[in-house]
Amino acid sequence: MITVRIPTPLRPMTGGKGEVEGTGNSIGELIDQLNVTHPGLKDRICDEQGEIRRFINIYLNEEDIRFLTGKDTPVKDGDEVSIVPAIAGGSMTKLRFHIRFPEEKVPEPIIYQIGHEYQVVTSIRRADVRETTGWMDVEFSGETEEIERAITGLRNKGVLVDPIELNVVE
């Protein structure tokens, strides 16, 4: 068995685990095998041509495989492989949406509910809510995928959601 260290950004594919085990005779085989046990992992590590992405480094026992024989670098039982992507800092996405409420939804604290149901922070930038109609410009911060889930959740509650601008990255 080969021990593979998974960095934080790829842990959603390993059920949150920071260390998984894999098999194979080379780094390339190991990645293919890992993709069977943890679907989606290979797409994050390799590009469309199957080459390791340039902002991800793989280390075999602390040595960068780019300076060994790349994906063909042989591996054996007991080896430790680390996947180390470039990390930039502690940033996150901010997205703004224009939200319109149908009459029957106006009395409900929908934005509050969304903030509690999903891992997003909501910030109301502009709003006009009256007895029978209402709209708000709301900024969502959080992971892109979680924001998307929150937006789907909003639409399922019967409100109309339109993006205001593509995105704002802090």
Partner: protein, 266 residues
């Protein structure tokens, strides 16, 4: 350079160290360091370098203090929400240690202003929060032949390296040749960071800066330190010079400063 009695008292705990001494304290007092970003990493970097008596600290950041910064950016305080970060930082550093000359630049660092800025400093610490700036600072430091201490954080994980290609060591592009393309950038797809992680990585950057200035110890010039705060494990991986590096190899493809604009696509 003469120290006053007050200064000798202030720095006594480090002057007493054989590897520092009066001579080392003079080196610290004469050093000029530029800190890119007055945020999560910039806060502990400047606090500890300021306390140690670094002569000149340049602080560049175009942002104002936001309430969501205060979970980790301990250089700023609640009454300073809305105040430019460099201004808030300057006030605190001057209260901490009036010996330190704090120079502030309330602007975003870019390809136009970076070379002129670097000319005034001996050493650069990168505490920026995006890949565009990170690669720009690396390239500019290479052209200006200035040592760079690079730190980055993400959720529970941190990375740290000393970059000195002008002394024969690898640069940041030897490690990662180019920034990730839009849409695949971890920093855009995920969010959140353990506040205190910024503290540990930033202070480790300050430690490397102190060692560079004092010319003591083993540096991180040929390795990358990786920290996992959840597991509480520190690991080193080797960081060789890339003979095909687009920047610092014998046949570079990057010969002038270029700016990468890395953004997220939805």
């Amino acid at each position: 350079m003469d120290f006053t009695e007050e200064q000798i008292e202030r720095y006594s705990r480090q002057i007493i160290l054989e590897q520092v001494g009066g001579k080392g304290q003079q080196k610290l007092s004469r050093a000029k360091v530029l800190v890119v970003g007055a945020g999560g990493l910039g806060s502990p970097i400047t606090l500890y370098l300021g306390a140690a008596g670094i002569g000149t600290i340049g602080l560049i950041d175009g942002d104002v203090v936001d309430l969501s910064n205060l979970q980790r950016q301990v250089l700023h305080t609640t009454p300073h929400v809305g105040v430019p970060k460099v201004e808030s930082g300057r006030r605190l550093l001057e209260a901490l240690n009036p010996d330190v000359h704090v120079k502030t630049y309330q602007e975003h660092i870019n390809a136009e202003n970076i070379m002129a800025l670097l000319a005034n400093y001996d050493l650069v610490l990168d505490g920026s929060d995006n890949f565009g700036t990170r690669f720009l600072v690396n390239d500019a430091c290479f052209f200006a032949k200035k040592p760079l201490i690079s730190g980055s954080i993400f959720r529970f994980e941190g990375q740290l390296a000393t970059i000195k290609p002008h002394e024969g060591y690898p640069c940041y592009r030897c490690l990662y040749p180019e920034p990730p393309p839009a849409g695949l950038v971890p920093n855009c797809q995920e969010a959140g960071v353990l506040g205190v992680l910024a503290g540990t990585i930033g202070i480790l950057q300050a430690n490397e800066a102190v060692k560079e200035i004092l010319e003591i110890g083993d540096t991180l010039a040929d390795r990358l330190l990786i920290y996992d705060a959840l597991e509480m494990k520190f690991r080193n991986v080797g960081r060789p010079k890339d003979p095909r590096c687009p920047l610092c190899s014998a046949a570079p493809t990057i010969t002038t400063l270029e700016e990468h604009h890395v953004s997220c696509s939805v």
